[in-house]
């Protein structure tokens, strides 16, 4: 018989001051405090970080990769969102 599943948590680490927290993996733990403990032991054994976040995996809403075209394709045609779209005189220098 399969035993009761242990909740899953996503782990994020800030590796240096000035950098954003980055997803590194997941851990199983009964509650947030133990998830944090476990994340420390599993993902920061060699000074990988200054700060840790654990987030219940079930709390994450993700976009569906099958709908990635519908989701992201419309930006491909909007080249006027990029600076290189605009013509300015060369002699204006760096702008």
């Amino acid at each position: 018989m399969t035993e009761a599943p242990m909740p899953l948590w996503e782990v994020f680490i800030r590796s240096r001051a000035g950098l954003a927290h980055r997803h590194v993996g997941s851990v199983h733990a009964p509650d947030a405090a133990m998830a944090l403990q476990s994340a420390r032991d599993v993902y920061t054994r060699r000074g990988e970080g200054l700060s840790l976040w654990v987030v219940p995996s079930a709390a994450i809403t993700a976009s569906d990769p099958a709908e990635k075209d519908m989701m992201f394709e419309p930006t491909a045609s909007k080249i006027y969102r990029h600076p290189s779209f605009y013509d300015v005189p060369d002699d204006v220098g760096h702008m």
């Binding site: 599943p5 993996g25 133990m34």
Partner: protein
């Protein structure tokens, strides 16, 4: 995170039109991510391989754990403890990677304890002397690194990312093992004999770690096409032999293989016949320590049950109290 709401899509392998697009992505070195469509056989192959890999890391803690309290110095003890702890971490990264494919860690552990899932045959050999700890780090972790470096480019994203993390940690494992062997090989005649004896016992089982010869390997073709695997068993085995033989000679040890010779023309070390009957016997459950290893895992799991149950009950109680407040 990807296990939630994931319903494995049924596909008759071979005649789903999505399969061609899937293979095209792989051919273009694109990475496959958890919620992407994939053929069932790709999913099953990965679940089996990553699960076996995770189990190997966990069972692999046992032969070395056997020597932690008997390490000859504090330095050696701290290093061995850190290494064994790393292996536990490797097991956890890998279980998490397998879970993204829609199997739970509980299910995988259950398969291991029921004897239905495999782990590397190498961990069914005993660690009889301290030199075995040197031989394991040097040879077993050395062979594992050979296997694992190409897996950092595996087509399945979560597995590749776990392997990158693991490979970074493995190189200390191999170096600490080789350092132990160097110290023994430079020591008293009795110490040197102990090092040679460990090498004699571990060498052949290490060559078997790469799996059956290419002529007999049943999973290789599809795995190569899917870029789960990038080198053949025999190819990796040869790389390992070529890398390791000079390391043994450098510290005055010799391989237990009368047929070993360097081929000037090919630049490779040629080695004698591997006893595949032994490999199959160990894999089938009849190695020197198979029963002991599984019994140790079962006991650890059973002894921890009340802790897992109590922790879950405690968390549920606190949640209920918070919600009532």
């Amino acid at each position: 995170m990807y296990t939630q709401g994931l319903t494995p899509q049924a596909s008759e392998d071979g005649n789903d039109p999505r399969e061609a697009a899937f293979q095209a992505r792989i051919d273009a070195e694109d990475r496959i991510e958890p919620n992407d469509w994939m053929p069932d056989s790709y999913r099953r192959t990965l679940i089996r391989q990553i699960g076996q890999h995770a189990h190997s890391e966990i069972v692999g803690m046992l032969p070395e754990g056997n020597w932690i309290t008997r390490a000859p110095s504090l330095r050696r003890k701290a290093a061995l403890l850190a290494k064994v702890q790393d292996e536990g971490g490797h097991g956890l990264y890998l279980y998490a990677a397998a879970e993204t494919l829609g199997i739970s860690r509980e299910e995988m552990v259950e398969q291991l304890l029921a004897g239905k899932a495999r782990y590397s045959s190498i961990f069914n050999y005993p660690t009889l002397t301290w030199a075995d700890i040197g031989a394991i780090g040097w040879l077993v972790d050395g062979a594992a690194i050979m296997n694992q470096i190409p897996l950092c480019r595996c087509s399945y994203g979560p597995y590749a990312r776990a392997m990158i993390r693991i490979c970074k940690e493995e190189s200390f494992h191999q170096r600490q093992g080789y350092e132990i062997m160097c110290a023994l090989a430079r020591g008293t005649p009795a110490q040197k004999d102990m090092a040679q004896d460990a090498l004699n016992r571990w060498w052949w089982p290490c060559l078997m770690m790469f799996g059956p010869p290419d002529s007999e390997s049943q999973h290789s073709d599809a795995s190569m096409r899917w870029k789960i695997k990038r080198f053949t068993n025999d190819g990796l085995r040869q790389k390992f032999v070529d890398a390791t033989v000079p390391q043994a000679h450098l510290i005055g040890l010799s391989m237990p293989d009368p047929d070993l010779r360097f081929n000037e023309a090919t630049g490779h070390w040629e080695f004698g016949a591997i006893d595949w009957a032994e490999f199959r016997r160990v894999l089938a459950g009849d190695g020197p320590c198979n029963r002991e290893r599984l019994a140790a895992r079962r006991a650890a799991h059973a002894d921890g049950t009340w802790v897992r149950e109590a922790a879950l009950a405690h968390a549920a109680k606190r949640r209920a109290r918070r919600e009532a407040a």
